[in-house]
């Protein structure tokens, strides 16, 4: 369960968008899509462990030079990630854009969780680039 029983409003939700250049790690028997699913499910768990009270949405896209982009999304721990588009070549350079909209977790903690999940499944070939900020109503 990814929900702490607290009352939430729009001000409780923070937004963090991040860009990273990555190469998928080689994991035996795991294709690009499955790797992305595992990454998203891992990220959902990590943000929850860091105090996220509700996953509003974690979504983004993976782009390579030679394939159609792959769009991804997850909304809860234990829920299946949704993938649309692709397929992506497994051992190539990907540009990953990840937007997280979460309750009760500030962007620095979101980025920390993202970095940990990325390092679990990908080799980072450059710095993570912050593209968003907390949402304020």
């Amino acid at each position: 369960m990814d929900v702490a029983m607290v009352e939430l409003d729009r001000d409780s939700l923070s937004v963090c968008s991040t860009r990273a250049d990555v190469v998928p790690k080689e994991i035996s028997g795991v294709g690009a899509e499955e790797l992305l699913r595992r990454f998203l499910e891992d990220l959902a768990v990590r943000v929850t462990e860091k105090g996220c009270a509700l996953i509003g949405h974690i979504k983004g896209r993976a782009v390579t030079p030679d394939a159609p982009p792959l769009f991804f999304s997850i909304t809860r721990v234990g829920g299946a990630a949704t993938l649309k588009g692709g397929p992506l070549p497994p051992r190539s350079n990907w540009e990953l854009i990840v937007t997280m909209i979460l309750a009760a977790l500030e962007p620095p903690a979101m980025r920390q969780a993202l970095q940990e999940s990325l390092e679990e499944f990908f080799e980072l070939t450059g710095d993570m680039e912050e593209m968003g900020h907390a949402h304020e109503h």
């Binding site: 968008s17 968003g132 900020h133």
Partner: protein, 200 residues
Amino acid sequence: MKLIILTGFLGSGKTTLLLEMVRGLLARQPARYVVLENEVGEVDVDGSYLSGQGLEVRELFAGCVCCQLAGALVPTLEEIESSLHPDAVFMEASGMANAHSIVDALDRYCRIIEKRLVVSLADLDRLEMLLEIARPLITSQLEPAQVVLLTKSDLVNPNETQKAAERIAQINPNAEIIGVSALRGEGIGDLIEWMWRWWN
């Protein structure tokens, strides 16, 4: 110009259903549709997906259309109308948007809309929980709707869908309520049929 506003909490399936609506209506009659995509993140994810599916997309991002970007909404719709002359605009509001605020702003300041439809999405997988912890936001998205789509019906049993429909009817007794699963294609035909009747 007709305006279809899609509202609903984050991750409820707005982008997926928007694509189904546009495709379903285009299959009945050729028309020019433009999508106005609103995202709170600095990066446009959904608009880029819809563009890749061949839709004509304009974007309002890095803020929510019900508050930070409210001032930009009417000029953007006017610009779309004058430059593209669409038959209809499908506007996907951010999942954090208060639909009352959007409707109020449009009713007060926008003179180019001849017909407006508010479609609200409620994710069956999370509706109960969201009504528990974020009721004011969720009800603000459901109350102004003429149609409420109970999405992800493949994830719950029919009894749960029925219970959810009853809860929605308490919040918005006037709305048409349709259960849909984009994954299985269930309910999409009913939705298109309902929209077609509204359209004409």
